[in-house]
Symmetry: C2
Subunit: 229 residues, 2 copies
Amino acid sequence: MNNLDESLLANIPPFRKLQLGQIREILDCATPKRFEVGTSVFEEGLDADRFYLLLDGHIRVIRTTPDGEQVTALYISSGQLFGIAAALGRSQYPATALTADECLTLSWPTRLWQDFVTKYDGFATESYKVVGARVDEMNNRIVEMATQQVEQRVACALLRLVNQAGKKVSHGVEIDFPITRQNISEMTGTTLHTVSRLLSAWEKSGIVASERRKIVVTNPHQLVLLSGT
Amino acid sequence: MNNLDESLLANIPPFRKLQLGQIREILDCATPKRFEVGTSVFEEGLDADRFYLLLDGHIRVIRTTPDGEQVTALYISSGQLFGIAAALGRSQYPATALTADECLTLSWPTRLWQDFVTKYDGFATESYKVVGARVDEMNNRIVEMATQQVEQRVACALLRLVNQAGKKVSHGVEIDFPITRQNISEMTGTTLHTVSRLLSAWEKSGIVASERRKIVVTNPHQLVLLSGT
DNA sequence: ATCCCAGTTTGATACAGCGCAAAGAGCGCA
DNA sequence: TGCGCTCTTTGCGCTGTATCAAACTGGGAT
């Protein structure tokens, strides 16, 4: 039992169609936890014993290659389930989840997944839609990496970030958490140098305005053109 | 009702744990169909109204970019489910399925998926494991494309093909369906020219032996070394 | 006020792999 | 037997990006 408010989940996909009483039940077995910037929620290879819902903040899901390079699999924004590999029959986490800013999560023991699926109508369907959307995004990234060159890929990556973590500001849309050139290079399979050069060029053309750890897209339309989609 | 044999499905993952009577029921609502080489089972963007099981042959799942380039998402070997996007909430096929050789499929109307899931214990779990494996493979490909260079990627692709469609022959392991340089380039995001050069070089080192539309890996170990994993 | 460090910018150089081009080579078909 | 199609091989020049190197900047800690 905890004192979280039902309305927290009422509008979030897998719970949206549930009744308040059911949401109450789910909340009562949830563990809330706050994570500082840059800490890990779970790590690649560990037993996938819990699944998570991100209530606030942004999470970077990364994989590390044998020689230590990092590749960003995806970014999670608030309101999304993550760490649900167990729902696809995996017993270990296939990736590491790092907080990109301060985060608030709810989590449940993995074994409850099956309970939720059988007990709450629509829970499974809605959850697997999340998986579907991610598979789709992964497919798109594969196509991108296979066919487009760096400038287009970086443009696509920026657009994805804007779509899922964009915050309107006076001069355009800002990416709502601290992000470095290095981070972007890890999303696109390039180097931070190349990303820096691209952003500099785009800044000159008035497409973006960036500072240290911060990017504002001032001309999204132009960015779409560059992305070649 | 049809005259297919229950043993067809008895050892295939989502059906493995079912009783023969249940398999019979499933078979009775299945439609078998044979496809010639190079024909399409379903196409990107069409209504995902059926899901499939590949009984025999090999299928190439591709996506086409706006400018007509093809990217191979994955290869399906016999015994695998495919076209199951609907299970993840998609109403259209996200890719096109082309036969790589002569194929035999069973298919069911999509609406039966939900029936199977509720009626047959373990069907859902086993099916989602298939999805899990594919997500995993996609993740690996993203990491590969982001960090490795062409030679390593092609080596990885070949190894994947060998693992899932390898047939032992006298001098090594042969890929069990016709495959062109072009096909491999579409799996790895390169050009057929580069693939051709690599295969020529590998042939000289005694790692592979290839002919027109045919590849035999004679020294898998060396290929693993090249793949850098 | 100063130091330090993480992040950024920019230049110079090298090279992997692409694009283009053209010549084989295997195979079905008439 | 020869034609035509698809697939393969190989050469050559070019260019997009990585790599190496070095300087700059802003902000937090002492």
